[in-house]
Amino acid sequence: MKLDLHILGPLVALIALIILGALLNPAFLAPANITNVLARSAFIGIIAVGMTFVITAGGLDLSVGSMAAFLAGIAIIAMNAALPGVGENWGTILLGVGVAILGGVVAGLLNGLLITQARIEPFIVTLGTMGIFRSLTTWLADGGTLSLEYGLRTLYRPVYYGGIGWITWPIIAFALVAILGEWVMRHSRFGRHVEAIGSNDRVARYSAIDVNRVKLMTYVGLGLLVGIATVLYVPRLGSASGGTGILWELEAIAAVIIGGTALKGGRGRVWGTVVGVLILSMIDNILNLADLVSPYLNGAIQGVIIVLAVVLQREKRAADER
């Protein structure tokens, strides 16, 4: 079997980064640091898996970062409001979890319906909802920060910090989402349909695939995953503001592209996306641990890697054509 550079390329880059990190600072491989890197990857990672489906079907969602902030905001408001009635217990927390997840589904449904039923470009729709969610969050927080009541925060904290041994819950959730995502993309009818639509939606339509329904489901699925990511994010700080989740959408899209999924759709790589997320957060981590380059240049290095990843993939494709 021929080795596929699309899968191998990002993996080689990831391994190179790990080796580089270990050489620069022995603390890099310490369990505490690895837990830290993985846990920080989890939010973007969970969202990026959903984004992989949206992009593979030929779509795009710019609203996920703002959506996460908005969901965190309404979840916190709901929990604080329920506190007097329900009390300081898991019932209140579960209510917040439900609000975030249901809100994510509804937000994804909104994006998806505008794209498939009103036939507006995904870029335009989600650029619009990105602004709407962001502004609503700032408005709900009245320009400041929405904070979870202290008692609830203490109760909720272990969802981010706790786990099985050094593997915290966000890492476990990320792993489960990635495994499920890979399975759905690779082995389910839905995944096959998503790739077919991104490859050529006319062929999909002529093959009796309900193109609009499948596209809609990719946005709903992404909304659900943003909800899950939010549920894991809220206990980290116990607060949300207009600045929560800024640029998450770009990090998620970058991870998908670095992972080898084609931006024009038709070829989805969930494992690649996972590798892409890890590459991005590892660069951040290495720059913080080593004094080689200023951490302020993190964005610049990530930008170079994104462009490089696409160039390498295109050269591979050009070689295939010959």
């Binding site: 050529n200 999909a204 339509r205 093959s207």
Partner: protein, 494 residues
């Protein structure tokens, strides 16, 4: 003195030769009509003359000297102007901007006023009242065609090549077009005129060249050929043994269609398809054949009554058609039929994935289906993982046929069964189609190739301008009869 000529020109696309040793000479002050069936090679000749294609053999002579055009604009710079069909305009630009596209007037700042005025003058000459400031998007189709004509007239043409300029024009506009053609002719411009309207060829042309299968089969001067004579020259060819023997359709109806209407495309089509029958649908490109088929299987919004095996069915989506036992093989293999960047397996099962496992797609069952399909339809591929786009046209078509047959439909509509594939594979596909009919399935074959429709079908419907213009069967199935029905030539049709 001939201005532009083709000498022994041939052209191949890959293994398929579409022009064979064509000689053609365009004289100044003459209208030269080029006629032939769809696929006879008219557009290839126009593209070669206009600099958009290079011939594979022979030469192009300009003023008696061999010439090679680097591109369309290069040919245009030498005075050879092509009037395209109306869809070659930039829809968001204004009429004036389109007319002067690529050679705008003015320096750093464009001289909008001069371009507007000159465009208005050109349109006036064509007796057309279009505001030069209107975006093309807001114009009707005939108006767009008039803009395309005005654009060509604005170039200083020595040779004017017209590709069915009148196809979308109304009667009044055709009159204005004829007047301009007469004016240009008297000014010494050489005109090549392609048209499906034989009456207009008889009226306009000083010289007629008839093409069939990429060869010149008849040359005539004005008055030497009647419309009937042209139709006969365009067709008339025996290839009977190339096609499988005709079948014995049963009397039972498999599909009854009453008053099928696709808004703007098909108007009240009614017909019956019998069990074991191959029913041909002929007609010119744009006569509504594909739209009829797509309306029938739920790919287009349509109204009308459909009965399968005597029972009424409602088909709103392609899925409903599948459920009723109908399948449709598209004419657009590359853009609607196959995922060119995906492997054979993904393509074969795309429309019927639910048959390969509930939750998990069973790739082993898919592979088994692919094994069967490659054997049944003789699909030749280096490997099953290769992209469908890398298969030859013939193997792509066989894969598409296999994909269409996977849901085991009883009624199969095949649109252009052999477009762009080689002769050997054509014959194979004809044999597959007849075999399917002999198994008791019912088949509709839509084709632009007259010989193919006649050779394959037990009975033929001819469409013209969105309506079923007539039905022919048995000894009546001649190219002559069909061409008359398709073109609406009134004459003593048999």
């Amino acid at each position: 003195m001939t201005i532009l000529a083709l000498k022994n020109v041939s052209k191949s696309f890959g293994p398929i030769q579409v022009l064979h040793d064509v000689d053609l000479a365009l004289e100044p002050g003459e209208v030269h009509a080029l006629i032939g069936e769809n696929g006879a090679g008219k557009s290839t000749i126009m593209k070669i003359l206009g600099g958009f294609l290079d011939p594979t053999g022979g030469e192009i002579l300009l003023d008696g000297r061999p010439v090679r055009f680097a591109s369309g604009p290069d040919a245009e710079a030498r005075g050879i102007v092509v009037i395209h069909q109306e869809f070659n305009l930039a829809p968001d630009l204004t009429v004036a901007a389109n007319v002067f596209l690529g050679r705008e007037l003015g320096g750093l700042r464009l001289d909008h006023r001069a371009m507007r005025d000159q465009t208005a003058a050109l349109l006036d000459r064509l007796d057309t009242r279009i505001d030069p400031g209107t975006p093309i998007r807001d114009l009707s189709v005939p108006d767009r065609q008039m803009v395309e004509i005005a654009k060509a007239l604005s170039r200083k043409a020595r040779v004017l090549i017209m590709d069915e300029p009148s196809a979308v024009l109304t009667h009044r506009e055709v009159g204005a077009l004829y007047a301009q053609i007469d004016r240009l002719r008297s000014e010494g411009v050489a005109i090549l005129y392609c048209s499906h309207r034989l009456d207009e060829v008889a009226h306009l042309a000083d010289r007629i060249t008839v093409l069939r299968d990429g060869r010149v089969v008849r040359r005539a001067l004005r008055g030497e050929l009647t419309e009937d004579g042209m139709a006969t020259a365009m067709v008339g060819r025996e290839l009977q043994d190339f096609y499988p023997p005709k079948g014995n359709p049963r009397d039972e109806a498999a599909l009854e269609v009453r008053g099928l209407t696709v808004p703007g495309r098909v108007h009240g089509a009614s017909f019956t398809l019998r069990k074991g029958e191959v029913l041909g649908i002929a007609g010119l490109v744009g006569s509504g054949r594909t739209e009829l088929a797509e309306g029938l299987v739920g790919l287009r919004t349509a109204t009308g009554e459909i009965r399968v095996d005597g029972k009424p069915v409602a088909i709103r989506h392609l899925r409903d058609a599948f459920a009723a036992g109908l399948a449709y093989l598209t004419e657009d293999r590359k853009e609607a039929g196959l995922l060119l960047d995906k492997g054979l397996r993904e393509n074969l099962t795309l429309a019927t994935l639910e048959r390969f496992g509930n939750l998990r797609v069973d790739t082993r069952a898919e592979d088994a289906a692919l094994d069967r399909a490659t054997a049944d339809f003789d699909i030749r591929a280096k490997s099953r993982d290769m992209a469908a786009g890398k298969l030859s046209g013939g193997n792509q078509q066989k894969l598409l046929l296999a994909k269409t047959m996977l849901p085991d439909p009883r009624i199969i509509i095949i649109d252009e069964p052999t477009r762009g594939i080689d002769v050997g594979t054509k014959q194979q596909i004809y044999a597959f189609i007849r075999k399917l009919a002999d198994e008791g399935r019912s088949i509709i074959v839509i084709s632009s190739e007259m010989a193919e429709v006649i050779g394959l079908s037990d009975r033929i419907l001819v469409m013209r301008e969105g309506r079923i213009a007539g039905e022919v069967a048995g000894a009546q199935m001649t190219e002559d009869t069909i061409v008359r029905l398709a073109m609406g030539v009134t004459g003593n049709a048999a």
